[in-house]
Every structure is written in C-alpha cells, then in structure tokens.
C-alpha cells in the first residue's frame, strides 16, 4: 500500500465521494484494454496484409503451382485474419489485468462478478465464429472431394520403401520414378502402397493423400505453372523416410508427350517393383534426393 511512487496516492482526494472513485475505474479499465486490443489487432492486420503477398517469394509458403494452392492460401488468409482478434482478445485482456491489477500497484482488489450477459455473449460470439469457419471450410471441402473432369490424366502412384513409382495407364503404362505432368491438364492420382503406409504429398500443389497397403486412394489437382517441384513422403515409413522424395516436372503438353512416349520402351515393368535391398539406401533414391547430395557436397 505504500507504493506511492508507482501510482498516485488515493487518500488525499477529499472532494470526490470515495464510493464513486471505485466504480468508474472499472469502465475505464475495460475501455482502455479494448482500445489496446483494437490497436494491436489493427496493427497486426495491417502487417499481415503487407506481408501476405510476399510469403511465397520469401519462401514461407511453397510455390503455388496448382489450382488447389490458391484455394488453400485463401483459406489460410481468412483463418489468420480471424485468428488475430481472438489472439489479442486473450493476450491483451490477460496481460492488461496482470499489469494493471498487480497488487504492487496498491489496489485493494475489486469485484468483477459474473453477470449473466457476458457468458451468453461469449458463447454466441464463439458459436458464430466457429459456424462461419465451418461453413466456409465446407464450401472448400466440396472442391477437395470433387473429381476433376475434362480429359484428366490418370497417374498410378505406388509407394514402396523408400521410392515413389509412377505409371501412366493412358500411355501404354509408361513407367517412371520421377513425376512428369503436362501443365493445365487435370490429373487424377490413384495411390497404392506395396508395403507400409506412406503419404503422397506435393506441397506446391497443396495435395496430400496416404498410400495405404491394399487400398487405392485418390486425389486430384491441375498443375498450373511450369516448373520443378517435389513429392515428399509425409508418413513415417521406416529407415529412409526422410529421403523418400522425388522431383515433379510440370512441362508443356508437347514436352510431356515426347517424354511419356520415351518412357514406354526402355523401362521394363518388372524393375519398378524390384525389391530394395534392406539396410542400404538405394543409390537411385539417394541420387534423386538432389538436396541430399548437394548438402553432402557442401560439407
């Protein structure tokens, strides 16, 4: 109570009635915290809006190379924008209370007893937020589930420890261990596994689907940008899980045709499912994990 240096002493204020001094203070605190909350939220939203267009360029998000990527990024922006006020709601009000009502400030404590209104308002707001996010997410869910129409390219993907194999049934079962796709043509991936669970993930396309032994799972996307991307395994699948990745080349339709016809003859079908010698990182896989060899070369 003798913390006069921190806050002005309350006793020498005879003119004001002492009962009044406590009550308006409470409204003040709420208003002050609300202003801080609004300012923090506004600043964070502005910063976010300034940063958001550059995140791909700065490497925070993978390149957006398919029709799925933009959807995902839009959802992510909306969710982030809605998270900012909620985050600051908790942090600002909690932090404000921790500082302003610290007993070192000499306050004798107050009563902020539950009104009926506040919980009801809280429940309503949280339900509204959740419902909005749900309905919003649901509209995109339909697109995730939707199959691509319009002359789709079918690719059969087979995961095995620790390789990806691709075959193109529409092109005489052309085989490859790297994925090559024509730009702007819908692709349907039929995914299988010959041993344990893997997960077929192309971060740049925004698609991921588990490869489950004995089952065929399906996912689709339309590549929209020519470039080189990567397939990663996203389910721990044993010893060399970290190295189970392979490049994705998105090329023009003409280049794809040339490439895929070249794949039909030279690779015999049996070699794709050849058993990998256990305990030895397949040289082929090691070479294809280009970042691995380059990092070894670095040091």
């Amino acid at each position: 109570m003798d913390d006069a240096s921190v806050s002005p002493p309350t006793p020498p204020t005879p003119p004001g009635p002492p009962a009044r001094a406590a009550t308006p203070a409470s409204t003040n605190h709420i208003a002050r915290a609300a202003i801080i909350w609004a300012v923090c939220t506004a600043i964070a939203i502005v910063v976010f809006l300034l940063v958001a267009p550059h995140v791909v360029e700065w490497g925070i998000l993978p390149a957006a190379a398919s029709n799925r990527s933009d959807e995902i990024n839009t959802v992510m922006w909306i969710f982030t924008l809605l998270s900012i006020p909620v985050f600051f709601m908790v942090v600002v009000f909690g932090g404000y209370a921790a500082f302003a009502f610290n007993r070192r400030r000499g306050r004798a404590g107050g009563t902020f007893l539950p009104s009926r209104r506040l919980p009801v308002v809280w429940i309503i707001i949280s339900f509204v937020l959740v419902t909005f996010l749900y309905v919003y997410g649901l509209s995109f869910l339909n697109q995730v589930n939707a199959q691509e129409g319009n002359n789709p390219l079918v690719v059969n993907v087979t995961g095995e420890q620790w390789l990806w194999n691709f075959s193109y049934p529409q092109y005489g079962n052309a085989q490859s261990t790297a994925l090559e796709l024509p730009v702007n043509r819908p692709v349907i991936f039929h995914i299988q596994s010959v041993d344990v669970q893997h997960s077929f993930w192309i971060p740049a396309f925004g698609i991921k689907q588990d490869a489950v032994p004995g089952e065929t799972t399906t996912i689709s996307a339309t590549p929209e940008t020519i470039g080189t991307y990567v397939v990663r395994c996203a389910e721990l699948c044993g010893l060399y899980h970290a190295y189970m990745e392979t490049p994705v080349y998105v090329v023009s339709a003409g280049d794809f045709d040339t490439w895929v016809h070249a794949q039909v003859t030279p690779v015999p079908t049996s070699s794709s499912s050849s058993f990998i010698q256990p305990n030895v990182l397949p040289a082929e896989a090691a070479n294809r994990a280009s970042w691995r060899t380059s990092s070894v070369a670095e040091g």
């Binding site: 605190h29 009000f93 209370a97 919980p119 959740v130 995730v144 041993d195 970042w291 691995r292 070894v296």
Partner: protein
Amino acid sequence: MRKLFPSYLTGAILAIIGYIAGSQFVYHRIGSDNQPAGPNFTEQGMVVGFALFFIGWLIGIGALKYPFTWLLALKDPDHEEEMRLAGKDAGIIRYFKFTTDHKVVGIQYLVLVLIMLGFGGLGALLIRSELMRPGALLFPTETYNTIVTMHGMLMILATITFFIGPFGNFIVPIMIGARDMAFPRLNALSFAILVPAIVIFLSIPFWGYGQANGYGGGVQTGWTVYGPIATQTGMGMTALATAVILAGFSSILGAVNVITTIITMRAPGMRWTRMPMTVWGIFGAALLAALGTSSFAVDLLLILLDRIYKTSFFAASTGGNAVGAGGGNAWLSQNLFWFFGHPEVYLIVLPAFGIVCDVVAVFSRKPIFSYKMGVLGIMGVCVVSFLVWQHHEFVSGWAPELRFWYMATTELISVPTGFVFLVLLGTLWRGRIWMTLPMMFALSFLWNFVIGGLSGVFLSDVPLDVQLHGGMFVTAHFHYTIVGGALMCFFAAVAYWFPKMTGRMLDEKLGWIAFWGIQIGFNVAFLSMFIAGLQGMPRRVADYDPAFATANFITSIFAFLLIASVALYFYNIVISWVAGKKAVANPWGALSLEWQTPTPVPLENFEEIPVVTSAPFQYTQETVEAEAAAEPAAGQAAG
C-alpha cells in the same frame, strides 16, 4: 535390513530373475524358427520374460500379499496393519516400497514423472541436435527414428500421468476432504505397475540393433505405431508394446480410483458445485483415461499378435513386398490408435484447465469467475473429445464422406475450450494479482494455449489439413498445446503445491530465471517450427531439404535454451526440496481444504473430517482488503 524386505530392492531382484527365467526358458525349450534370434533371446522370449519381470516385481514388492491372504481367507488386515502398510512411522524407506498412503504415492509419481520428463527432454535435445543443420549430422536414421519414437511415446506417458499421478493422488483427496483414496492398495498398485513399464520402455534401444531384419532395430514407427510398419520394424516394438500396455493398465487403474474417490469420498457439504476446478479437471481426465486407453491397448495387442503369432490384422496382401500374410487393413490401426489418441491429448490438458483456473483464482484473490461455465467447458471438452478422432485421418483415404462431420465436431470443441478462457480472463479482471511463480506459469498458459488452440482450428479445416497434415506445422501445434498448455500448468502446479508436498518453498529467483528462459526458448523455437511446416517440411525426418535450414536452425538454438531452462527448473526443484526455505502451512493464503491442513500433512490428513460450507475460493472484498492492509510489505517483497 529387515526394513528392505519387501521393498523396491527385492522387487528389482525378483523382476530380473523373472525376466531371465522367462526369456531363457522360451529360448531353450520352445525356441523359434521364424524369428531373427539375437544372442539368447527371441521375441517370444521377450514377451514371456517381460511378463515374469512384471510378476516378479509385484511379488518382490509385496503387492500381491494382501489379495492372496484375502483369497485364501487367512485373515483380514486389521487397522494397525493397514497403518503399517500406509507407511506409519516407517521414515524415508516408505517411499521405496509398496505404500498405500496417497501422499507417498503422489510423491513417488512426482519423482517418476520428473525422471520420465528428463529422459523425454534428452530425446528432444538429441532430435534438435540432429536437425540443427541439413545433412546427416549425428545419428544413422535407424537411431534417429528410434529417438523420435521414444521421445514421443515417453512424453505422452509422462504427460498423461503428470497431473493424475502426483496431484490426483496427493492433492485431490485432501482437496475434497477425504482421508485417503477410495482404494488405497489399488492406488499403490497403479504406481507399482508403472515402474516396470518404464523400465521396459527404456530398454527399447537395446533390442535388435546390429542384427537388423532389414528395417532397423529399435522402433522405426513413431509413437503412432501404425500397422503394418509396427509389424515390420525391429524387436524394440515388442518392448514398446509390452511397456505401453502395462502403463495403460496403470493409467486405467489409477483413473478408476480417482473417479471413485471423487464420486464417493467427498466431505460433507462438498457438493459437486463446491469442488475446486482442479478436481473437475482431474475427474474429466480420469474419465477419458478409463474409457479411452483400452483402445490403444487392443491396438498394441494386435501388433504383438501380428509380430509373434504371424496373424495379419494390419497387413494387406500387396504382393512380394507385403509385410504379413495379408487380409488385414492399415486403417484399422489408425482408428484404434486415434480413438484413444485424441481423447488422450485432452486427458493431458483437462487437468491443466482446472489447475490454471484455481491458481489464477488464488493469486487474483477472487472467486472463480463463472464457475459453471468452467465446469461446462471442462466436461464439454471431455465429451466432445471422443467424437473428433477422424480428423487425424482426413488424408488417410478412410471414409472421406465423414469428413464434414468430424470437421464440425473438431471445430465445435473450440467452443467449450473458449469457456475456460472466459473463466480465466474474468477471474483475472479487477483481481488483486500477486505475481508468484505459479501465477506466472498460469498466465503463460493464456498466451501459449491460445496459439495452440488457434493453430488447431487451422488443422481442423479439411482443405488446410490436406496441406499441413504430417508436417512440422502439426508438430508445432501440438507442442503448443501440450508443452505450452499442459507442461506450463505442470510447472505452475509444482510451484503451487511444492510447499504442501515437500514442506519447503520453491526458490522464486531461480524459478523466475527458468521461467523466462522457458517462455522465450519455447515460443521462438516453435513459432519458427510453424514456418518450417508452412514451407512444406514433413514431420519425423532425420534429414531435410536445405530450403528449411533457417527455420530449423532457429528452432534448434531456441530449443536448446528451452531445454537448458527446464533443466534449471528441475535443478531448482531438487535444490529447493533438499535445502529450500521451510514453508508455513498456507503460504499462498489459499482457501481450499488442502491448505488448511498442517505441513507435512499427517497420515489420514484430517483429525476430523471437515464440513464444507461454501464454494471454493470465496474471497470477498472485505477479506482481501483486510489482507492488503495487514501485510503492507508483502506486496513489495514477493510481488
């Protein structure tokens, strides 16, 4: 010397004899023709050995004496014998034997949990060291995957225990005004089962290295132990399955005991609406443990059957590379696992909700704001948590037509969680806040858990989950909830109840340094891990694309700070326990029952059972003002 019989020493001796007898009998007499046999052991031998290890331990510590004397109707133990079993006048040795006093069991749990967290933290240190730079730095992938698995599983075992074990046993009975748990011997048994489980668990790295079956020794599966890779991986899996089944038994027995205690043993006047929130949180967690754990135990049993008897629950027929005989399905494994796995994370965090509400109420000197909302929040999360598990399988291909429903339940669960935040903010508002160490940890929960919760909303949305699932974003998210939420509350709870449990104060200054180290290290490390996840880095990889190098380097450096700070906090616990300032009976001025007992709490807690007349933490304007006037210096000295 007589005091050591029976004790953990005799238990350990009989356990080792049991293991050797069991495994060698199977190896020499039954043998095996389809197992890659190591030096003198097979997997069949391991299981039988572990079983006898466990039984030998129970016989050695004397846990089976009373059930058998009762079965054989020799005699019922009289009150004096019960008191002796509860460790009356036994001195320090009572902590090293089968003792039924709930306070002894609570301390035993606390020490074991700290040891488990220590080993788990060591795993984190090794993981972050390996991931500091791209490229293979320290371990072969075989070792790395084993460390990842053990870190995950051990931390889960520690965190599902670290509220129900120490505080559910030590604090809850006193809080509700009981003399002991409902089933004291069952209570001691649940701890006694956990000890051999952890010993077996820590043996995992020693099985199957060197004589690899082609898929690595140790355990290569991650803590999710999905079939069929759990069938394919090294012999460590058998040790893991046995250990976790035992730990699951311990968890279920402990939970049943806690539930019964809370339902039946409350003091007169301790109505459901007068229980401190801690009791509600632990009650909800115990319900989840009792109902959910068995699903995981079944999963592990099927894995053991697949491994040892060559059944094929999880392996499908896929031709030459198939793991087992075929006919099984891997989705079964995912469902069995996550039906336990998701309630399990709420099991970890529900007591944290309760404890943080109580701590905030005590150090704000206010009654809990909107108590019923808090209870509704905890019990709401408890119920809904059983309806969300499929969100772990959004990309598994299993039942995609159900995704809209699980997306709804998953987003719905954030509503009752939000209630808890309302309770916390309302309790803090216009309180008289005393910034002690427990309070600081409780406040850090607000910051950390809101980040964990909001990132969870991202993952609940199917289109986003398709991109983020299986990546570092998920790892960062659940570390925010479990470390940032639950572990911070554990540290708060340790600091808060330390005076009651040990009779000494936890050193504030060391705790303060550790607190800031923990907060800074944790937040920078895991915010940076969110970035790695957004960039597209998969989880549980031993090596990664140099594109993720910056984010991982920052994560590693700050993870080291986090680990060092936690180590400092542990050091603080040890040093304060041994040589801390003596504590008075109620150093915090708390109003709940456990603080009204003397320190150390006598056997049977209360001379006479108290009668409760009000809801918890009924601080009033008058009492708080009187307290403020009475101790003018305290605010400056300790605040």
